[in-house]
């Protein structure tokens, strides 16, 4: 008697349904992830005219993308690997990539939620008005930008097996990106740091998101930042996938 193997779409649908439920049950963490960039945007109310609406939206969306990519995705992967959840899925008739694809699709939803929340907050709190195509491009830029942070997360879970160490590392990287990235780009830390920050994974993502919300101001530098962002994502994902082990034992 022939053994039937379920189709990939059936498997992916089942995985996605359970991953979305898991994400929903962790909605407090989701709310916090969304709240941080919105609070930053709110606190910048008085200086929006000085720094510019596009810069503010770009920075806040970048902070949100970092939180979901670095901490949400990475810590859930580290936890599920350590608990043996992946091993149980891998002995089932499904391709291993489907497990990750489902997780990444959930992250895609998170990216949309964060971007939408910041854009809505920008409009309603800070009265930042952007052109219609700016909304579409902002979502696209967010997806591209988020891949860098997901890739950094992939490198972290590739190199570190212990979930507590992964958690501590992602928080540290997140903190460094916010402190050095945000303050550095504002010029508070001096010109040398600013120069480095602009081409760092923080700066390039911030540049492309800021450029996307205001397409008329898209420059050659924004295009270069886009290319560097894609480069970061490709290189880091290759390292992360190569180093990744499905079991922490």
């Amino acid at each position: 008697m022939q053994t039937n193997v379920p189709t990939t779409s059936t498997v992916l649908k089942a995985l996605l349904r359970s991953d979305l439920k898991t994400q929903w049950r962790n909605r407090r963490a989701v709310i916090l992830t969304v709240a941080v960039p919105v609070i930053i945007l709110f606190s910048w109310r008085q200086i929006i005219n000085q720094i510019g609406g596009a810069f503010a939206l770009g920075s806040c969306i970048t902070v949100g993308l970092m939180a979901t990519g670095l901490m949400g995705y990475t810590n859930s992967i580290a936890r599920d690997r350590d608990k043996g959840i992946f091993q149980r899925l891998r002995v089932a008739p499904l391709p291993s990539w489907a497990i990750m694809a489902s997780r990444l699709l959930v992250q895609l939803l998170m990216i949309f939620i964060i971007t939408a929340a910041v854009l809505i907050a920008g409009y309603s709190v800070d009265n930042i008005i952007i052109p219609t195509e700016g909304y579409v491009l902002a979502f696209l830029a967010s997806i591209i930008g988020a891949t860098v942070y997901l890739a950094i997360g992939q490198v972290i879970v590739g190199l570190i097996k212990n979930p507590e160490t992964v958690n501590a590392t992602t928080r540290l990287v997140y903190f460094i990106f916010i402190m050095v990235g945000m303050f550095g780009q504002l010029g508070i830390l001096g010109d040398v740091i600013k120069k480095y920050v602009i081409w760092s994974p923080y700066g390039t993502v911030q540049t492309i998101v800021a450029g996307a919300v205001n397409p008329s101001k898209w420059t050659n530098t924004t295009t270069e930042a886009l290319l560097v962002t894609i480069g970061y994502a490709v290189v880091l994902f290759l390292i992360g996938i190569r180093k990744f082990k499905w079991s922490s034992k």
């Binding site: 039937n4 089942a14 439920k21 898991t22 002995v91």
Partner: protein, 259 residues
């Protein structure tokens, strides 16, 4: 040859290395339809490596593994769809309820999960009280029963049970043994690993003792006892004058504690 057609699992000349260390050394055995086959060995003997290779979690350096006619290297998804696996340390998302976990795996195995089928599975595994509870809220025994319920969800030809009764109370353990025997009567094959010699003696039709990566004995439990009852090493470890499978096991694998 006619016997070979009944093999649900056929492991032939399996070799697994970790760097220069040979964890599994020319291991060969088979599990027939309707048979409970026990793989016994001390810690680090090569049981988990052998099981991992059968489950497709680990690629052996050489040898072949065929599950229900499918080579695990050439047709991994078909081989996996033909087996039900209960891992030693299985876990599921603690946020999902028992029902949601069963629904997830029904989707993964392509099982049409009707309300009646779900209810039957839940009651067969004594999970009625906890069906709406999240996995993270369950006791160790309940978690073990969820894991076991998923093994049989898709009516697999081969069951791989890695220490399935760990954490179960005597009643649940007896019930599991009865279910294993009932499955065998329907023609399923079961590969079981356990550290409980009592369990091996009670349920296994045949057992293999593996040590230092090599199979040192394969036979019916009682035949093994009869064969080795006069070995000085076995007599030396026997208690109260009666030779048991545990005495034979310790006699063959040594008294030192493995870590």
């Amino acid at each position: 040859m006619s016997d070979e057609k009944n093999f649900i699992l056929d492991v032939d000349d399996l070799n697994i290395y970790y760097g220069n260390f040979k964890a599994v050394n020319n291991v060969s055995f088979h599990v027939k339809a309707g048979e409970i086959f026990g793989l016994l060995g001390p810690n680090g003997a090569g049981k988990t490596s052998t099981l991992s290779a059968i489950e497709g979690l680990l690629k052996p350096q050489s040898g072949s593994i065929v599950v229900a006619g499918y080579n695990v290297i050439e047709k991994p998804l078909h081989a996996k769809a033909s087996m039900g696996v209960q891992l030693q340390s299985t876990n599921f998302q603690p946020e999902l309820t028992v029902e949601e976990i069963i629904e997830l795996f029904a989707g993964i195995y392509g099982v049409d999960l009707t309300k009646e089928k779900l209810d039957k599975l839940i009651s067969e595994n004594n999970l009625q009280e906890s069906r709406q509870k999240r996995f993270g809220q369950l006791s160790g025994g309940q978690q073990q029963r969820v894991s076991l319920s998923l093994c049989v969800l898709h009516d697999p030809k081969l069951l791989l049970l890695d220490e399935p009764t760990t954490g179960l109370d005597p009643q649940s353990r007896r019930q599991l043994w009865e279910r294993m025997e009932a499955m065998c009567e329907k023609g399923h094959g079961i590969l079981l690993t356990t550290h409980s010699m009592e369990e091996a003696e009670a349920v296994c039709d045949r057992i293999a003792i593996i040590d230092h990566g090599k199979i040192i004995e394969i036979d019916v439990p009682q035949t093994l006892i009869d064969k080795h009852r006069n070995d000085p090493e076995v007599i030396a470890v026997s208690r109260k004058g009666k030779i048991t499978l545990e005495d034979v096991f310790i006699g063959l694998t040594g008294r030192e504690v493995r870590v």
